[in-house]
């Protein structure tokens, strides 16, 4: 993608203009297809469009090449059979359905597992340096709850390597890109989408995107929880929220995957709150202890111990903490110090280095961990042959959607979903004609002006600090609707959220739009 290029410079995008008749100025940007989100899903969608002669505009909240995809370390699933020839897309689909407790969309799952071998070969052709076997095939490893070695990887930086490849390919195709854009509303009458509204995060200026189709590739909602494994401004629900507001249906929103071992801020500092301690630490023999020094997994899962499924281990840790057997920093201990230093350095290099920087020696002492919100299975309901939502001209792809993962996601399937469906959605959209876009209806122009006026009013001095409101919401969700839930607590937290929302309506939050 072409970074730092203003849209006006690009011949494939109609020139912008500004409108000030309402007193609020904004820039208008025209594009056949607006892709909201610049991670793997958005990039792969844009590549298919560009390859078929449609030039989309991709917008992202962060600097180019720095989407949340880069944090996906583990790998990407495809039934290549490099190691286990008996593996097949059907067995990959069966594993996915089992882990999703049969709430997945089976046709969507099969679509993904069938095309994945081709998507891996394509990524390899485009330059992703997958680890290889001695025979030169793509190497595959075991991953939790998979029947065969199926997970392809690039060391422990698979997502980052994959996104580099996709962005390189998009740049070759000269896909227009605009960074640091926050979208706040879709232009929709509830039945049809006309574009999107938002602002430039650098200077706070308002933007109206007029598009023939809008593709939401904006991630999930796990970061609404206080402890989460994403960076703060990512995965905070933009995609599903924009879709819902525009009239689309959401599905499975109650399902959020918690990773068992996130770092504890009280011990390692705010910057590390919820960041993952990779599952490999347990895979290499790491043991979990409560504050009483008890290896508590013996009570929850005597056979599989620390290597049981993510949800089982996460619940066990949550229970220990809830029942008062956690550390004073609100975690439990994860200990691998019984292993030799050389072994730890060789098998867990990035974890060893990260903790060493924090003054913690993995070879000599334990670390403090607690479950962290990691992935949202729910999201926008889509048609898996096209990416269509129920609203005309609105499409969704990637973690923003629901249906592939059901009630729980199989590790290694998130990256798979992004490229498998990205291509399908891009190819479908490329068949549509975007030649004549009718003028924006007066009602939508009015909606835009009102929205910008609202944003403008919110940006001034207010009685509320947005970060504090979000922090309170995150705490409430975590303590009452996190890993362990119960009717009473959920009802209570809903009441409190309503108070928060009402408060927000009457007392404008303060703070500038741009940092």
């Amino acid at each position: 993608m072409t970074s730092n290029r203003s849209i006006g410079d690009n011949p494939t995008v109609d020139g912008g203009d500004s409108d000030s008749d309402s007193g609020v100025e904004y820039e208008t940007v025209e594009t056949p297809v607006l892709v909201i989100g610049a991670g793997a899903a958005g990039a792969r969608t844009a590549i298919s469009l560009a390859e078929n002669g449609v030039s989309p505009l991709v917008i992202g909240k962060r600097d180019h090449g720095d989407a949340h995809t880069t944090w996906a370390a583990g790998g990407i699933n495809a039934a290549l059979g490099s190691r286990d020839p008996e593996d097949s897309p059907a067995i990959h689909a069966a594993d996915t359905l089992n882990e999703g407790h049969m709430l997945n969309d089976p046709a969507g799952v099969e679509t993904v597992t069938e095309v994945m071998p081709d998507r891996i070969r394509e990524l390899e052709d485009w330059g992703t340096p997958f680890n290889a076997t001695d025979e030169g095939a793509v190497e595959q490893r075991y991953f939790g709850a998979q029947s065969f070695r199926r997970t392809c990887f690039v060391g422990d930086r698979t997502g980052e390597a994959m996104l580099e490849t996709l962005i390189g390919r998009a740049q070759e195709l000269e896909v227009p890109y605009r960074e640091n854009v926050q979208v706040t509303k879709l232009l929709s009458d509830g039945e049809r989408v006309y574009g999107a509204l938002g602002y430039d995060m650098n200077d706070g200026s308002f933007l109206l995107f007029r598009a023939g189709a809008v593709v939401l590739a904006a991630g999930g909602y796990s970061a609404v929880y206080d402890r989460h494994s994403s960076r703060d401004e990512e995965n905070n629900g933009d995609g599903p929220a924009l879709a819902y507001d525009a009239g689309a249906r959401l599905m499975d929103a109650e399902f959020v995957q918690f990773h068992p071992t996130g770092m504890v801020a009280e011990r390692y500092g705010e910057r590390w709150e919820g960041r993952l301690v990779t599952e490999a630490v347990r895979g290499e023999g790491g043991r979990l202890f409560n504050a009483d020094g008890e290896r508590f997994m013996e009570r929850y899962s005597p056979e599989q111990m620390e290597l049981d499924a993510r949800d089982v281990v996460a619940r066990a840790i949550a229970r220990e903490i809830a029942e008062g057997r956690g550390t004073e920093n609100g975690g439990v201990y994860l200990d691998i110090s019984h292993r030799d230093r050389s072994f730890i350095e060789e098998r867990l290099p990035s974890m060893y280095a990260r903790f060493a920087d924090l003054g913690v020696d993995l070879a000599a002492e334990s670390v403090e961990v607690a479950p962290t919100a990691h992935y949202s299975m729910g999201g926008v309901e889509i048609d898996f042959e096209t990416g269509k939502t129920g609203v005309e001209n609105l499409y969704a792809v990637g973690e923003t959607t629901a249906g592939i993962h059901g009630a729980n996601r199989l590790g290694g399937n998130s990256l798979a979903e992004t490229v498998a469906l990205g291509k399908i959605v891009g190819d479908h959209l490329a068949e549509r004609s975007f030649a004549d876009r009718p003028v924006l209806p007066a009602s939508q122009q009015r909606l835009a002006r009102e929205h910008f006026a609202d944003l403008d009013a919110m940006a001034g001095e207010g009685s509320e600090v947005p970060e504090e409101l979000l922090g309170e919401l995150g705490d409430l969700l975590e303590s009452h609707a996190g890993i362990l839930r119960a009717e009473k607590a959920v009802v209570r937290v809903r009441g409190r959220c309503r108070l928060l929302a009402d408060g927000r309506r009457s007392r404008a939050p303060g703070g500038p739009r741009a940092p």
Partner: protein
Amino acid sequence: MLRGARERRESRGAHFRTDFEDASEEWHRNLLYERSFDGMELTTKTPDEPSAEVQDALDAGYELDYHQLE
């Protein structure tokens, strides 16, 4: 999220209710969330059946030996 967490009176996958610790066959359904004039409207639907080939794979009961995990 909260509406769904309350509505789903069972435990399944990542959703765990301390007041309903087991999965319920009745809840082999997806919850759908849609905006309506009266606020958020919740409905449910039953997921489709897998294809014959995938059903065969499910019936074959493949599974990972956890001790092989790297």
